[in-house]
Amino acid sequence: MEKQQFDFIGKSFDIKNIGKATGKEIYTCDVNIPGQLYAVVLRSPFPHAEIKKIDYSQAEKMGAICISGDDVPDILYNERIVSIPEKTYRDRTVLPKDKVRHVGEAVAACAAETEEEAFMALKKIKVEWGKKWRPLINLDKAMDPDALQIYDHVYLGEERVDINNNIACERNVDVGDIEEGFKEADEIVERTFSTQRVYHMQMETKSAVCVPEADGGITVWTTSQGIHNVRILLGNIFNIPLSKVNVKRTTLGGSFGSSIQMNSITPICVALALKAKRSVKLVTTREEDIYDHSKYPLKTILKIGAKKDGTLTAAHCRVWVEIGGHNIQAYPYLGCVAGWFASLYKWKNLKYEGTAVYTNKVPSCAMQGYGNPQINFAVESLIDILAEKLDMDPIEIRLKNYVGKGDEFWGQGPTVRSIIRSCGVEEMLIEGSKLAGWDKRTLPSKKKGDIRRGIGVARGFHTSGTGGPNPGEVIDYSGATIKINEDGSVDVLTALMDHGGGTWDAGAKVVAEVLKVPYSKVSIYSGVDTRTTVFDVNTHATRGVYCGCGAIKYVAEKVKEILLNYAATLFKDLPENLELTCNEELGQAVICPRGIPQNYMTLGEIAEHAHITSWGTIAHTATLRQKNCPPCFITHFVEVEVNTKTGEIKVPRAVIMGDSGTIINPDLWEGQIIGAFSRGLGFSLLEETKYDLNNGKLECNGMITDYKIPTTIDMPKVGSITVRSAHTYEPTGPFGAKGMGEAALSSVGSAVAIAIYNAIGIRFYELPITPEKVLKALKEKEGR
């Protein structure tokens, strides 16, 4: 392990979030353009219906500007263009032309001088509906050969694909020979698991503002995890040269994956602005937002085999995902689920079969983990069952079989793989078990009383980015322009997005560390757009620090090279004889001939010299593709308290071990892990977007209080949640760093379910584990 002393990496700077603590931060919904119109969207009350005609003449008489399917381009697109075009399914237009496929799907929109006028005009839009069908809500019903087809055909890249049995796409992977593998096994276990639809509930609802420019171009602010992809999509859909589409990078009020794709309202806002030839602002309501995106659910049948000593011999994994009314990214999703599954344990022989199915529900999309928490729940639960059958300690069986250093990790499905070079799994399991008091764990049969305590362990991971030695199906590169200003301060221009997890903070520290410039003099937080930055694919796949800041570090090093070369001319010396350090007293980076600190020049003096002698700006621009996808690991030890009278479950204590290599932002790193833990508790115990089978509407009716997410009182107390980091260094990462974000959620649900089993001796195979389910299961157990 490389040991390094850092000036900035690993330190916390309070100033980073000052805009957010003072109300000065500008989110999309805070952008106002003088003379803007306000837009509102008409949404379908039906889950599956034919649109015959939309008449908005009355609304237009009121002065509103309206659009429907007839007004938008005929371009079929997929709103997520992270995968290469040949692997991207296309099934939608800006507004539907003939059919709606879920309740809440936008069918028309209008813009007016005030929001109130826009709402009044919206009421005048008449939709003539044709045939209306009963919704296909459940997976099995949708796949029934007699079921109505939600799509006749779609496109995969340029190729037409007919849809049968509502199957949107399939993906199979085979490694080795599972028949042989199961023959070798002494013990075989098989179970069916399912995880539910969850709503992202990012605090900021999806929003957009569009200004049509005089030259035919557009300027757009929107809630997005990747502004360049929005630029490319809008340019393609509206046939505007990409040089004339400018998308502003704006702070995001949370996202959790729901803005990897261009939001459905973004092109609606643009279409309205282009028609009105006026600026338009569109902020969706919470209800609209709940009807806009959802986490992918997953049904899994998993079978695994092992020898008596716990060595795994084979695994067969069959998964189904229902994706709702549009296919946003089901194909890469199925690939990723295969990858997470394949990379958890050394199965030796594996078979994976994945099927994605259209239903008449809200389109599902990535949500922190992209299938990882879903498949982890199945794998970790079944490993726990296997350990029990083999009479092995759950930690021992994991230590025996985990995929670790030197093994191959599938960072983004079967086509993106790289060798693991840093791994804290062993340390986390062993140290974590000490902190959690694992040896004091008792069997379910030993518990008594109404309140029963249990402890569970589960481990997980996520990739850091989607790079491999060879580019796979996923586009992955980032970039930056870095320039030294005339006073020695530094501008970092990057399209890299920050969801709040500290990606920009990390970027600023990486630049500060390379150029030895005080953190407070590095500006990364605001003022960029697609026109002033080079491409960055997206902040998804936990790639912000590893890939985004990896690229930033690469550019900063180039700038350092230019700087030292220029300084060498001033010192009349060779660049390699110069030393760059941070002088805290001066609050400046300084350069001196190595070993002669008194002969220093400050970075400000050097930059000023370059300026007044007209040498030019010390700056560099480049993009970089990371060629690895190192896993960041996590291990959860969770304690639960089950009230056998009410079925309620509390989580009084947790020990969470994380492996991110070098930690760049310690306070936000911990915050990411704890935040993911709370979302994980929501996923395990509370949250589900349930549908009415008859009318296809959400049972929560678009209300947060009826949906329920964790609040302050659902979390363990401050001192009862312990977060620790493994001691690792990722040789391919910026200063030894890899990611954390999505990993932190991956094993929460599994650990909670396993802890519940330890408390009451009942296995749950379906999330969320609600009090009703607990009571029902307890009753059944007693009845037996």
């Binding site: 979030n17 957010k20 003072t22 109300g23 509930m201 605090m203 900021e204 919470r286 979390m715």
Partner: protein, 158 residues
């Protein structure tokens, strides 16, 4: 609709506005006064993102009619710092890593200042209970509770 003249103090400044009887305070603050620090998270009293202080008490500006603030004093997140000096609660949030995406932060900070004014020695359970109406999807609340705790007995009366 007939407009009503109202006069109120916001962040220490007197303002006169004419509003419609059904205008919501959140819209007046965000759209007319351009104080966009108060956030819209739900519009129906479910999330706390729109919290402002009305005569020192936390209220949900999305449920408050603008007409009812006549003669009253409003503090939004923009008015909490005194000059360049951040309010101790703002500092505590920054210091404890209690801010991620920041969308809940203004409402959280304002609610927390009201809590400690009411009860400067709140226990952790009291803090958790008082703050439960303010939703945060990013942080998992622990660092927020820590930040509030660190401010106890440390809030000058403002």
């Amino acid at each position: 609709m007939k407009k009503i003249e109202i006069e109120f103090t916001i962040n220490g400044k007197k303002r006169r506005l004419s509003v419609k009887p059904n205008d919501l305070l959140i819209n007046i603050i965000r759209n007319d006064l351009f104080l966009t620090g108060s956030k819209y998270g739900c519009g129906i009293g479910e999330c706390g993102a729109c919290t402002v202080l009305l005569n020192g008490e936390p209220v949900l500006s999305c449920l408050t009619l603008a007409a009812t603030v006549d003669g009253k004093e409003i503090t939004t997140i923009e008015g909490l710092a005194i000059g360049d000096e951040l309010h101790p609660m703002q500092k505590a949030f920054l210091k404890n890593g209690a801010v991620q995406c920041g969308f809940c932060t203004p409402g959280m900070i304002l609610t927390a200042t009201a809590l400690l004014k009411e009860n400067p020695n709140s226990t952790e359970d009291e803090i958790r209970d008082y703050m439960r109406g303010n939703l945060c999807r990013c942080t998992g609340y622990i660092q927020i509770v820590k930040a509030i705790k660190s401010c106890e007995n440390n809030l000058e009366t403002s």
